[in-house]
Symmetry: C2
Subunit: 452 residues, 2 copies
């Protein structure tokens, strides 16, 4: 299915010796280790690197980059392996440098609401470390991704509607460049106008401009009160229209997630829940006690206008946790609904006024092409995912899924949107780069790549 064939190993004896000298027994060419690093959560078949090195420091990463640069060996940064777009596949072989052991929390500066972390720190690891600080790190892409990987793909997720994306929440970076320099970008100040925004250049560059070895991220005070709410709709259109109106009314929801009836069915089975198998909106509100109550009430009025049923309001942590655990399980719940299938996911993001049209048309694309699917979405940002269940052995089905994907992405672009709101380009969205960006814009990106 993946049309790109790995070339034979580029690791000559000299490179091998160099890497062994840097990493000792943290360097491996074992089949199982390579295979583990040759796949992600995308539908692509495994495409292992020629070798894997487990880095412990920026200096090791820098030495590795210099060595790989000298020997023209492709170098892939590997974190949690939770990409859904094939970022991590070694399409040209080469070395995977696994950063998951660089997972030290370098410092938590509670009084400045910032944390300095190594790239292998995951979001739950950071939030666990923050437990007694009264602070939290909000960005939540669902998977327990590493912060390095999240920055590299400009990730976001459920909380982005309130707290922004990785673009907005990284103050500073340390990055190893292709030629093995360790460069700092940004400061610990909340804002700066001093020169080009190098930090933002690396965020979303997907490892093509350098490897992130340290991040300084923003933290937020834990809200005084948190509540969740859930309600069902008779159809998708009502659910999405309600979500659009909630945003247009400026209700500062912390999360507003959509699940279609298929997604609800799957999480009911997977998580032993009994949610009504209808399109559903799931909310979280953050603020003071009274503000959370106000937000929930304002939301209730809008969803009721759209014939929502069962607006249920959960303030108890265990109830909230049950709902959000189910939401976080949605990807795997949907995956497990068809044994042997893989998920081809879409990631369109459009201006909020076009969301209902775009999402409904995307569902039709799947129906026309006979593709089983479920839709979940961070609808407050105009961002949704069609999770297409595809048998990777079935070439015809895969090609029909690709057809549906192409059709719905093109439509999102025509609506002024983007081919990827938060997953990144990886392998699967490469064909859409030239549709989303003008040739001049792509030229600029290429010239940045060359310059670095």
């Amino acid at each position: 299915m993946n049309p790109i064939i790995s070339s034979s190993s580029r690791l000559n004896q000299e490179a091998l010796a160099g890497l062994q000298a840097i990493f000792g027994d943290r360097f491996s060419t074992a089949q199982s280790v390579r295979e583990h690093h040759g796949r992600d959560e995308s539908f692509y078949a495994c495409m292992p690197p020629d070798a894997v090195a487990f880095a412990l420091s920026a200096e090791e990463v820098a030495a590795t980059a210099a060595l790989c640069n000298a020997h023209r060996i492709p170098l892939i940064a590997f974190g949690a392996g939770s990409s859904v777009e094939g970022h991590l596949l070694a399409v040209k072989g080469g070395l995977a440098v696994d950063l998951s052991r660089m997972n030290r929390i370098v410092g938590i500066h509670a009084e400045d609401a910032i944390a300095v972390v190594e790239p292998g720190v995951t979001r739950t690891q950071l939030n666990n470390a923050l437990k007694d600080s009264g602070l939290f790190f909000p960005i939540d892409p669902g998977a327990d991704a590493t912060l390095g990987g999240m920055a590299a793909t400009r990730a976001s997720g459920t909380n982005a509607v309130r707290y922004g994306t990785m673009r907005d929440n990284v103050l500073a970076l340390k990055v190893v460049t292709a030629d093995g320099r360790i460069v700092s970008a940004g400061t610990k100040a909340k804002k700066s106008s001093a020169g080009y925004d190098l930090t933002r250049i690396f965020i979303g560059s997907e490892g093509t401009l350098g490897i992130i070895t340290e991040l300084t991220v923003k933290l937020y005070p834990l809200p005084e009160a948190v509540s969740a709410a859930v309600c069902s709709f008779s159809d998708v259109e009502h659910a999405i229209t309600a979500a659009m109106r909630i945003m247009q009314n400026g209700i500062p929801v912390a999360r507003i997630e959509f699940l279609d009836s298929h997604a609800v069915h799957c999480i009911n089975v997977h998580c032993k829940l009994a949610l009504p198998a209808h399109p559903l909106l799931l909310f979280e509100f953050h603020g003071s006690e009274s503000s959370v109550e106000e937000q929930a009430e304002a939301t209730r009025l809008i969803v009721n206008d759209h014939y929502a049923s069962g607006f249920e309001w959960a303030t108890r942590p265990e109830e909230r946790s049950r709902l959000w655990t189910a939401r976080h399980q949605a990807y795997f719940a949907i995956l497990h609904s068809r044994p042997g299938a893989r998920i081809m996911t879409t990631d369109c993001c459009v201006p909020i006024s076009r969301l209902a049209d775009c999402l409904l048309a995307a569902r039709r694309d799947c129906e026309i092409n006979g593709i089983r699917h479920a839709v979940i979405g961070h609808v407050g940002d105009g961002n949704f995912h069609v999770l297409m269940l595809v048998d990777p052995e079935d070439a015809d089905e895969t090609s029909r899924a690709e057809k549906a994907n192409t059709s719905l992405v093109n439509r999102a672009l025509e609506m002024g949107g983007t081919c990827t709101g938060e997953h990144g380009i990886g392998l699967h969205k490469i064909p859409f780069m030239a549709k989303e960006h003008s040739e001049d814009a792509l030229d600029m990106m290429r010239s940045i790549k060359r310059a670095f």
Copy 2:
């Protein structure tokens, strides 16, 4: 005072003819027009360009860029002329392209909370146009700057503590490159992970990478309720410490401004007010009626802990307007307090925990060097301005002011801060680029400049 001497005109006959062909009577070499375009609000003496062209379209800007590129003529984009760092001075002569007549509001998409504008649109013009939409554009640097200029300098101001800076509020740009191409960056979607963040590369690039000819900016629903509050402190330290605690407690203030007693005195005189001539914090709260009340009450408790007096809470629009007009007049009120003087301003931004130390030490730098000054600050962001009143004819005083400036900027950098939070580098902060950024980081910036 400005050490850089303009070279003689680079506009040869061919270039002159080309520009006249593009602009007709919107092209001028008149002394008065050139002088108007050779100064800004900084303390630098006038340094006029060789000619001025008033552009009406991106195509004219593109043709101008191509022509200037071919003839190696320096090209300076001019908006409102409100820079305080000497951005606009024609240090090497050349052409100023005045974009203030490119002030069309291309579209207001209320349902998506975005506006598309030409670069000469000012923030008050945009907010006037939004009057009946229920939306507003929050970024407010004080001056009625153009949005193009604000994006080019990554501006922010009083509301940034709640709504972010220009970095966070521009979704898409059209930019004319040095060689005269018109390039689009970004989409109308709220977020995207599709490729390098070209939009953020141009924001803060101060005209060195291209000229912005169109911006798509985020708008926000007008808050249901707005209130302002003001209180005085016995000394600067108590005021700043209170501000730090308010931020650390996560109170979502929309503005939190500091003025020292000299600044208060100046605005009392200039605006005929009778505020107590003590260090002062000025707040604005946005939200629902009850949330605004809650925020004000939480703030009152903290400032009272720091012996604030006269916590006055203004919900009536005219009272608020009176207070904020005074704040916006502060720069000119301070300037007018010493006839003939110009202001040399600093713009440090530090992690909030270091703000009191940094600001107090900055005042001492001025005192040691015998420089009259006032301090105002967007203290919620850790950002403050020391406005040094300098007689531009007095070389000794100017040099003592530079000494104070150097000392206080260096300290901010040592504290993990930046030499400019929102004004940009311009001419005056150039020496600090190499102190704030490593040689490798500067190298990267240079390589981006070369690549573009």
